[in-house]
């Protein structure tokens, strides 16, 4: 058996995974647990990388390796153009998504920012905001932001639209199409890594460690 055969046979079980990666999806323990486990194996990663070589792509992950995606192997001009456009899209979505994270955290009275695997129900968020005018107003402002793009003035339609967009962008996963229950994916980790990176690169005055300074001010 030739080397090429050995290679492709070895990759046979990873077909669907390769397809998802190539389609631009992020693979994490929530979005595809078994695929993620396989990606944690270095040999598998190498085999996939070899396969991707002629497609000018390679397997990449965030610093914690909690989410995998495909990166360009060689950066030519068109790849750089695509990355620039992507960067500006990401920046455009940054504030709306961060504000949504804060809103959910406050509305549901949670200790911390949403993490991969957390369960979210749009109905719950809606119920919490029905009797809370300020929350209601924040959802409205957020939903009509161009990133979420809701045209409706109804709370339920606004919440639905926000969840729909977050699902499209891979931050949320809906395990059962007909049930309004969503799971937070590892892409949230990726987003926070991006934020951290931008903060460090641009030396932004955004404090992560400063204990209780804000509380003291309050």
């Amino acid at each position: 058996m030739s080397d090429m055969n050995a290679l492709s046979n070895g990759l046979l079980p990873h077909g669907p995974l390769l397809e998802r990666l190539l389609a631009g999806e992020f693979i994490c323990a929530v979005s595809d647990e078994s695929a993620f486990q396989r990606l944690e194996d270095e040999d598998t990663r190498e085999a996939i990388d070899d396969y991707l070589r002629p497609l000018n792509r390679r397997l990449a992950s965030n610093p914690d390796a909690s989410v995998y995606f495909l990166a360009w192997r060689q950066l030519d001009d068109s790849a750089r153009d695509q990355l620039s456009r992507q960067l500006s899209d990401t920046l455009h979505s940054l504030l709306p998504v961060l504000e949504w994270l804060q809103l959910v955290q406050e509305a549901l009275g949670r200790d911390s920012v949403l993490s991969p695997g957390d369960v979210l129900k749009p109905g719950e968020l809606q119920a919490k905001s029905e009797d809370n005018p300020s929350l209601r107003e924040r959802i409205e402002r957020l939903a009509t932001d161009s990133f979420f793009g809701s045209q409706s003035d109804q709370l339920d339609a606004q919440v639905k639209q926000v969840f729909k967009r977050l699902k499209e962008h891979g931050y949320l996963l809906q395990p059962h199409g007909e049930r309004q229950v969503f799971l937070v994916t590892g892409k949230i980790d990726y987003l926070l890594d991006l934020v951290r990176f931008i903060r460090d690169e641009e030396h932004l005055p955004v404090d992560e460690q400063g204990e209780a300074t804000q509380e003291a001010l309050l």
């Binding site: 389609a23 750089r80 504030l95 961060l98 690169e201 932004l204 955004v206």
Partner: protein
């Protein structure tokens, strides 16, 4: 103190103890009110009952103005009994116990020298209790720590409180470990000398218990640090999100550097464009033919439903129908124009399309009319096109470019 007196004292102690312990049960409700709130409510208590509770030091009055409160010891006892982690105290107090043990060992020795065996027995009993108390306090403290750990500090709800509680627990572990370090077995060995009973109690038994406590404490400490790291991680995520959101709100025009143009693009920003693995049916492999024909057979036949007469409704012209009808009318008017040109049959007398439009009192928009006239000409078969002469009256749109506009079209029969 004579032998006869001592058992009498003991029985008096027992009687008082039983009386006072039963006070706890009799006034349990009021006392628990005092535990849960700040003060013990006096409505349910008679004067006598209150006096007794004060005498038993179950409750006390910190000063004249204040109400009646539980004494610290009773509060602690209740906290231990109900495992109330928010109030449970961790207090090993090793130094004091060691003092007690030293003095008890000396008293024990003296009684032994005097041959006072009853007294010696009593000292040994108290010594045992002191050792058990010390070990028990460690065990309780460790139990309390585990309880808090296993509940993720569930007795406080805010993350910041959890961080503080974890910090407090870690300090307690350090104090407990310091307490353990105070126990110097070399000193104890010297203290007990050759006495077998003491040696067993103070060396072998204590050493075994303390080494278990030490292992547990190290484990608790390790787990507390791990949990703290998790809490800190959660805290830092919240701060990062809040901080960045606040920054972006304050600086709406903020644009970071274009990382995609750097010589080394940071991994996080290098996300390759999506690629779809497309596939189509192919017939170049014989073994696939059966599958493909099966697939073909499975494609549902287009449904031509028979329109039953009974289901027929009055026609409703839809938006699309309306547009199609207008288009058809325009086409017909243009055809009439062409026939008009043919009928006139005056060569070299071209008829202006716009003029015809006005004289025929047609309502078409001039531009649409011209477009349709030209389209009609281009739609004619080549042989028929040659029968007509079409002249386009054009003008330059602007002196700055080469765009030309058609102002009119004149049509005549070619002779």
């Amino acid at each position: 103190m004579s032998e006869a007196d001592t058992p009498g004292l003991e029985s008096r102690l027992i009687t008082t103890g039983v009386e006072r312990l039963s006070l706890l049960g009799r006034h349990a409700e009021s006392l628990m009110q005092g535990y849960a709130h700040d003060e013990v409510p006096l409505d349910g208590l008679s004067n006598t009952a209150l006096r007794r509770l004060l005498a038993a030091r179950i409750v006390w009055r910190p000063d004249e103005q204040s109400g009646v409160k539980l004494t610290p010891k009773v509060r602690e006892l209740i906290a231990e009994m109900v495992a109330d982690e928010a109030r449970r105290h961790v207090n090993a107090d090793v130094a004091e116990t060691l003092e007690l043990i030293r003095s008890l060992v000396e008293s024990y020795r003296e009684s032994s020298h005097r041959g006072d065996y009853w007294q010696q027995e009593q000292q040994l009993l108290r010594l045992r209790q002191a050792v058990d108390d010390m070990s028990g306090r460690f065990a309780d403290a460790i139990d309390s720590l585990w309880q808090r750990l296993n509940s993720d500090f569930g007795f406080v709800s805010r993350l910041n409180d959890k961080v503080r509680e974890n910090d407090r627990a870690q300090k307690q572990v350090v104090r407990l470990l310091d307490g353990l370090a105070l126990i110097d077995f070399n000193e104890l060995i010297a203290l007990v000398g050759s006495d077998g009973t003491l040696r067993k109690l103070l060396i072998s038994q204590l050493q075994q218990q303390l080494s278990e406590h030490y292992t547990s404490l190290r484990e608790v400490q390790h787990r507390l640090i791990e949990l703290m790291a998790r809490f800190r991680h959660m805290q830092s995520r919240s701060r990062l999100v809040a901080g960045m959101a606040a920054f972006l709100r304050e600086h709406p025009g903020f644009v970071p550097g274009n990382y995609a143009r750097r010589s080394e693009v940071p991994t996080l920003f290098n996300r390759a464009a999506p690629l779809t693995a497309a596939g189509s049916a192919a017939l170049d492999r014989a073994q696939d033919t059966a599958t493909l024909s099966a697939l073909l057979n499975d494609i549902p036949a287009p449904a031509h439903s028979v329109q039953s007469v009974s289901a027929a409704r009055p026609s409703q012209s839809s938006e699309g129908d309306h547009v199609a009808a207008r288009q058809q009318a325009l086409k017909q008017d243009v055809e009439t124009f062409y026939l008009h040109v043919v009928d006139k049959t005056e060569p070299d007398q071209p008829i202006s399309a716009l003029e015809y439009l006005h004289t025929s009192e047609l309502t078409w928009n001039a531009e649409i009319w011209l477009f349709q006239v030209i389209a009609e000409f281009q739609g004619l078969p080549h042989s028929e096109q040659r029968a007509f002469h079409i002249q386009q009256e054009e003008g330059q749109a602007s002196p700055f470019n080469e765009v030309r506009l058609i102002h009119d079209v004149a049509l005549s029969l070619a002779v």
